[in-house]
Symmetry: C2
Subunit: 502 residues, 2 copies
């Protein structure tokens, strides 16, 4: 039990590794010289948690390599010596994906911060994993391009972390998640071998290793280079703020917009608590007398935007909208989004602490789920503000609590788990874009049966035979695969005609 939060089961630390800590640090310093190894407690503090701050744990040691060769050497060393490894990007994970382990090397990719190639004829860029999400769009802005997925944390989160978590954002309804916008990657295996996945093309032949690495939460290897798809910036983008007297009306409006065949660049919904918090934080003129607010963004050629704006206005009015405001300038459009993107910290000011949940439901279940969440809030005596990607049914309930009030963290966690179980019950899923991490690990069996989880773990074992990469995350129960041996297919190649059985 090395996790510091009550109730979080983590794998027992390996006493043999703890006893050899000084030797391990010396060995790692030989691999990553200079400032690349951090071993003093005070200097390791910034790495003790990610954005799921309820859980904290100092790592064995922090290593910050700056080349793929160093990453490969560190991983090979850890593999040879059976030392666990937790990869880390910017540490903005909301599911505890980068939570350290007492006996594990924390491998930070922060020094991988270069943009290697911008290739606009092929609509892509090759970047290192430590480049921030927004940094990519900024680097190609002058050429008229951008990178589409836009997590709220995009100013800080890195593309490597986005790949690990299959991150989304407010524009994923139209443009897809990370997996739809990454074309290739360089992956270092735990053995130190380097594999190239995908490339600048949609299809590459052979088994699609890239797709399984995207969203694998650091369990399969360490990504040291990413090829992202670039999109041309739309000619026009306009946002509409629409207020409704009930969240049912807002939900109905979302359903009718989609049913009309319109795929907006984004449709976000906020409830009364979230609206009030965001408006107090950024003062952008959100209406305060409505129960639900939609932000609908339309982009594309001017003619298309104008046409779709008319359609959306007509649909909103038919759904009892009480306020409707269309952005008339780029500054105003960005203002509409500023409130939404600041909603998490804004809600955070309402309460000493909050848990940001992440689940997805079929769109048509929205009114039922909102009503049921209100009942659950009453049961646990906790407030819950709601901000969500309404277009794709991805909910982000923000549960407000005070970690210093006895029992409140536990109540908030139970409330959150009930919300996620509710999502699965109505035909949805445990996650939308934040990953499983430690936060939802113990709920995986509400979605997957033993056969499903066993097959996922066999795939994990095909990459990580000793289960050294990010243990304690994603899988509620881990099983040994080391005793079956690594499938060393690189040795003993048997060309075809001589092959007796395979």
């Amino acid at each position: 039990m090395t996790g510091t939060a009550p109730g979080l089961r983590m794998p027992d630390a390996d006493a043999r590794v703890l006893a050899r800590r000084n030797d391990i640090i010396a060995d790692l310093k030989a691999i990553v010289p200079g400032e690349g190894v951090i071993a003093h407690e005070r200097e390791m503090r910034p790495y003790e948690s990610d954005a799921l701050t309820a859980y904290k744990q100092l790592p064995l040691v922090v290593v910050l390599p700056s080349t793929t060769a160093q990453v490969a050497a560190v991983l090979k060393y850890c593999h040879d010596n059976e030392i666990r490894v937790v990869p880390r990007g910017a540490g903005t994970s909301l599911s505890g994906g980068a939570l350290p382990l007492e006996d594990a090397v924390l491998l930070g990719l922060g020094k991988f911060n270069k943009i290697l190639e911008i290739d606009t004829p092929n609509r892509c860029a090759v970047v290192q994993p430590g480049v921030t999400n927004l940094g990519i769009s900024k680097a190609v802005d002058h050429l008229g391009f951008y990178y589409a997925p836009d997590p709220s944390s995009q100013i800080a989160c890195t593309i490597g972390g986005n790949v690990a978590e299959n991150s989304g954002g407010v524009h994923c309804l139209k443009y897809g998640l990370t997996t739809n916008n990454v074309l290739g990657a360089e992956l270092v295996l735990i053995t130190g071998e380097i594999v190239r996945l995908g490339g600048k093309h949609l299809d590459a032949g052979g088994l699609d290793l890239l797709s399984v690495v995207i969203g694998s939460e650091g369990l399969l290897g360490v990504v040291t280079e990413v090829t992202v798809r670039l999109l041309k910036k739309p000619d026009t983008a306009r946002a509409v703020l629409v207020g409704f007297p009930t969240s049912e009306d807002a939900g109905e409006c979302v359903a009718r917009i989609i049913a009309a065949g319109i795929i907006p660049a984004g449709i976000e919904m906020m409830d009364k608590d979230a609206i009030a918090a965001a408006e107090a934080f950024v003062n952008v003129g959100y209406p305060l007398d409505v129960e639900a607010l939609l932000i609908v963004e339309l982009d594309g050629p001017e003619a298309e935007c104008a046409h779709l704006l008319e359609e959306v206005t007509r649909i909103a009015q038919a759904c009892n909208s009480v306020t409707l405001r269309v952005s008339t300038s780029e500054a105003e459009r960005l203002g509409f989004w500023a409130g939404r993107k600041a909603a998490f910290p804004a809600v955070g000011r309402l309460s000493p602490d909050y848990l940001c949940m992440d689940g997805t439901i079929p769109r048509r279940q929205l009114p039922f789920v909102l009503a049921r969440m209100r009942e659950l809030g009453a049961k646990y005596g906790l407030r819950c503000a709601n901000v969500f990607h309404a277009g794709d049914g991805n909910l982000h309930p923000l549960i407000l609590y005070d970690a210093n009030a006895p029992g409140e963290l536990h109540a908030a966690e139970s409330f959150g788990a009930d919300i996620l179980r509710l999502c699965v019950e109505v035909g949805g899923v445990l996650t939308g874009e934040h990953g499983v991490g430690v936060e939802k690990r113990d709920l995986m069996d509400t979605m997957f049966n033993e056969v499903d989880l066993a097959q996922q773990q066999r795939m994990k074992c095909a990459f990580d035979d000793k289960s050294l990469l990010n243990p304690g995350k994603v899988f509620p129960t881990l099983h040994r695969c080391a005793e079956f041996g690594r499938m060393h297919v690189s040795g003993g190649a048997l060309p075809f005609p001589d092959l007796p059985r395979f």
Copy 2:
């Protein structure tokens, strides 16, 4: 050497299985009663090849199960008895993905032909794998929806085969390949275990098994149910036929359309040979005096289409277009496509036989690659008509030959291999949408090194420990994984706190 084509190395047949053929047939008849087992040579003839007709081989036996339970029982029987299995959809594979083996059960999914659920509020349908691609769109047409990927063989090919090959089509530039349009699947493992992959949502938590199964060419398991994404039919779709004096001009026009930020529903290019063949076949009024023809389709709201049509016209004229014709009715639009979709059989009338190649290049390399292909054609003394998805750089050179002329098949194969090597050399890939199969198997090492291929095979072993599923396809060299044992993670579950090492 069981393949009947000269030069095609296939794994040696298992004499033990051949000797037990009658017992195996009897056992399979007990699992799949009635008409479900075909063992007479004459009745097995239709299954001896797929659309890569250069290779033919009778299977050990054909089994046509009609329930998932039967598929599971057949696979478990084959696993227990170490009998190879080749899954088959409609047999339209152009890369030999469904080529039988003398010692393997051919598992046909033709009886899985039902649409199980149409769920328009969630924009998806649940179908059995033997439903044809076009059958899905027809079933939801009256509701205003369709399924986007549209291979030329869509009237015959099945969604199960589309999943196996990650099939594309003329509309994939805008709407993506199969992997972008399939949300979930039911997969039967070679052990007979049944795994559910994905669902009705973008993200599902855990490792993304679905993505690796899509495009895995029958090497990982048998898909018995597919959840596809449905799209609303666009308000308007209009196609433009544009003729050019040179293919360089046509290539430049494609580049400028994409550079302008326009993503048409499709951009297809045909060269002079293909134009003439298609026009003679369907008589739709293609211009015969041009060197290259583009078909550009624009879809969306009426206002958007009108605006984009103006843009495309302006760009085409700036690129020296000599003819330009916009469809004025739905019948005319479908006529424009009829020639393109019939191009393969149409070109087939020019010559006794043809090989349809499939490679992808960076768009900007198009003029260079076209010129180099002309040189290669002269070298081999063979004609080559070109039809391609120009928007995404996916080439389909059609090499014309006569199988009865000594040496021509071999020359055509060498010409095709040179074209695919050329694609890789200019930064492209071996495939676009037809898969690797046996056709491109021996070229895989031009794209992937040993480490890449070894990691792909470890993933294959995580699904198929005895390498019984579709052997001889995709991998140029296969390696044993059976000797390392199956990773039986379903036994001996070790819950967390008690877990000493994992």
